[in-house]
Amino acid sequence: MRTSFNGSHSEPRAVVYARATIGLASRDVRVEDVPCRNLEDVLGGFGRSFQILAERTITHAFTPDNPLIINTGVLTASNVMTGLRTYFSAYSPLKVSNKGLPAAMWSAGSCKFGPKLKWTGLDEVILEGRADAPVYLVIRHTEQGPGITFEPAGDLLGLTCHEKIMWLRDRYADAHFAAIGPAGERYEDCYMASVALSTENQLRSGDDKCRWAGRGGMGAVMGYKRVLAIVAQAPDRITKLKPEIRDINKAASTGPGSRKFREKDKGGLGGTWSNYEPLEKFHFVPQNNFRPTGDGKPELMFREHVQPQFIVKAESCFRCGINCHKNVYEKNADGTRGAFLAKFDYEPVNLLSTNIGIHDPRKAATLISLVDRLGMDNISLGTTISYVMDYNERHPDAPILNGATFGDFDKARELIEGAATGRFPEVGRGVKRLSEQVRETGYAMHCKGLEFPAYQPDTNPGYPWAIAGGHMSMATYMALALEGNTSLDYWASLITGRGLLFVRDDLVGLCKFAGITADHAVEGLKHEIGFEVTSAELLAAVRRSFVRALWLERKQGYDRSDYTLPSEVFDRPNPNLGVPPFVTREFFSQLSDRVWAVFDREIDEIAKA
């Protein structure tokens, strides 16, 4: 990214970013400087990629015209701590309207691939078309600018994400990698395939410790394009740390915003895994396909109960002081640390254990690790498996697939393997399609084709307006536990106001776990690239980007029938929840009217623009 300010330091057109457009079939590569059209272009991430997607007419995710946009945020590779994000954007095979059209989607991942990509000299890569045969791309920093080559990927076929990354590590020094797994290679059977990003810890230790752009099937789009991996090779270009940035980083690493994710002995609360305890107070921890029973079994996955059996080590992404990775290792007989098992975050742990009736941390680690190796989104997969088990409990005489029911570890593992290998495409294509196929949609836990993360839909009527997954693009999933407010005014205001601003970091390149304030992000922009913007302007650009995503959904056929919750939320209230049911049909209908009264007007403005 380059700037050429002439007077004002707030003019987006004074900022240009470097883009490579790669024609996979023709092998044409075009590298160009692109002037920013608006603040969203400057900020990057989905703020920029969704403007590109808006220019396309795409009716199926697996077509050559559907681009896979790999970009960064303005603060990716900066000295602002957690400036490590890479975004993958495309029309999604998983997120589809009821009319069957794919929706625009992005998924973000951390660690060093994003910075390395930027250090090759590129801010954005657009993969166009489809390669004739499996390839991996090598993007290098050269004296003449970014150099891009195509390499045959026959040796990578069939390898797990981690194995692909290790294979590439052994051949490319000073590089980081993005790779798909076997699931992405079988994209036609697995729409929930993810993209793995290498980490420093992984390359050094050889342990399977990828980070993920997991949601929405971006790995399936990459698999369709027959790009099995991308290498970003460049020397680190770390600049001198300015005092202003040092202050921001200190606030991020020691301030209240990251306490949730830090270790207890570092003044923290122990990471997302520790969500189990506050949620279980209200019986909000999903069990048996999002149907908490109140039997106390979620406690078996509390960290305090798991930790004595294993070694839990807090580790981190590149140059991050938060140490949010809670990595679980075997504990040797002498008490020392043994083999790495899995990274425990609340959502994968819940969805691959408690929510499928398994209450054993070792089994949870086995399933999480398996999903990671095969390269799938553990949220989409876990929620689809819980649906299969629920269906089979309801139809003991006519079960589907392998007949898995809650608590059956071996059959859960079989479903996971089958989703990635083509044995169970009904699972790999997600819960929306499966539930429509078997004609029981009422307890299929998704909105708009994206499966729910590990938060109850009967506590979150904001789910339908999330634009890229329920817990990363709409900050309403924990609101009931936090405030206990069930009024229409509260929910309409939350969804159309603070809730949507949650996606701010999905433009700028930072991680939400840093808890960086808008003022700090603005300071970061000023001191890292010299661009001056107010917090209000920044947040206005975030809002425009969010509304543009809603407009894009409308363009793909979404209507009010898509913006709803599974019918069992309305028709079968769960008496075990710690609060009286409030998401009735009447409540939700009134809420929808209120929310659309705000968004419809703004969508019209975006459409005109």
Partner: protein, 89 residues
């Protein structure tokens, strides 16, 4: 005056301010002073029965306080953090 720091969840309700200096002799009275000054933070800090919101965690100078420790005295240089125990990602 003790300083209370909080996350974006709080800051975004009071114009982006992420810390406030308050008059208070204890952690609890400092938090009361905070919500007296910014009433729209009340539902985050206090439960309906007036007790501390059970989903919030309070730190005093980097030490996590138990639910019964909010009566701990504070001085002018003390730093109180209040953070939600619930965040995903």
């Amino acid at each position: 005056m003790p300083r209370i720091r909080f996350t974006n969840l709080f800051a975004e309700r009071i114009g982006g301010v992420n810390s406030v200096d308050v008059q208070g002799a204890t952690v609890e009275s400092s938090l009361r002073a905070l919500t007296d000054r910014h009433p729209n933070l009340t539902p985050l800090v206090w439960a309906k029965d007036g007790a501390l919101n059970s989903v919030m965690v309070v730190f005093l100078n980097d030490r996590q306080l138990g639910a019964t420790e909010t009566g701990t005295p504070v001085g002018p240089s003390d730093q109180i953090d209040i953070v939600p125990a619930l965040e995903g990602g």
